[in-house]
Subunit: 140 residues, 2 copies
């Protein structure tokens, strides 16, 4: 779905990695992985996915939209909770198959559906070849 907001993916590696054309590489499911951090302090908030429609809406409105893989539907993050994400800055990576959004979260601030600020609230701790999850304070 090329448009003025982004192009079809580029076949030339140099252009893709060093050029000025935004040409995201959607995967076989039509999705691009998106890392979301808090613009105020860099805290990793969540990892989500965008399809072309979600990306277009995000670029047009400045409010983060994703594709919900579980619900199989477009997802305006925070539409129900009020915790909308305003995009402060958006980046892509070298091969343009991942996006990074720095956002400001509206309202009382939780990003995770569990009510926590970040989805990454558990540390993986491995001792003597056995792993378990431990709840952690959120730090960068």
């Amino acid at each position: 779905m090329p448009n003025d907001l982004f192009s079809a993916s580029l076949s030339d590696k140099h252009n893709n990695e060093e050029g000025a054309v935004f040409a995201p590489r959607f995967d076989a499911s039509g999705l691009v992985t998106t890392v979301v951090t808090d613009a105020s302090d860099g805290q990793l908030l969540m990892v989500a996915h965008m399809n072309a429609d979600a990306l277009k809406l995000t670029l047009e409105t400045g409010i983060a939209h994703y594709w919900s893989r579980s619900r199989k539907s477009l997802w305006k993050k925070g539409e129900t909770s009020g915790n909308l994400q305003t995009v402060v800055e958006m980046r892509t990576d070298c091969d343009q198959d991942a996006l990074w959004l720095k956002v400001t979260v509206a309202g009382d601030g939780p990003t995770c559906h569990t009510g926590r600020r970040s989805c990454f609230y558990r540390q993986i701790v491995t001792t003597n070849g056995t792993s378990s999850l431990v709840m952690q304070l959120e730090t960068k």
Copy 2:
């Protein structure tokens, strides 16, 4: 490939989100998305993918291993360049379909194959409905 380092994915949502069992949800391609930040300052370095073998090796050795989707092979990041990633902390998210590694990068520090510290060196700038990519200093 369940083992003592991680379990098969959990069907119970509460256990999956609040429990202590590390049970990553690999996608249809057998991969889990992994966000990699620098443990020293929180800089987002890269987004990669792990299959079960890469995850097991990472947990066993404390050195980050990934699955290279382009090369279709196990990838000990930095094996050629010397810029190995030592895992300082590892987390999973609420539904355990994403991982977060905080790492220390060995050697002269670049993570991106282009020689840059981070793969996210281009900002997406949208003006009057048209997007382009602009090189940026790396900031959180």
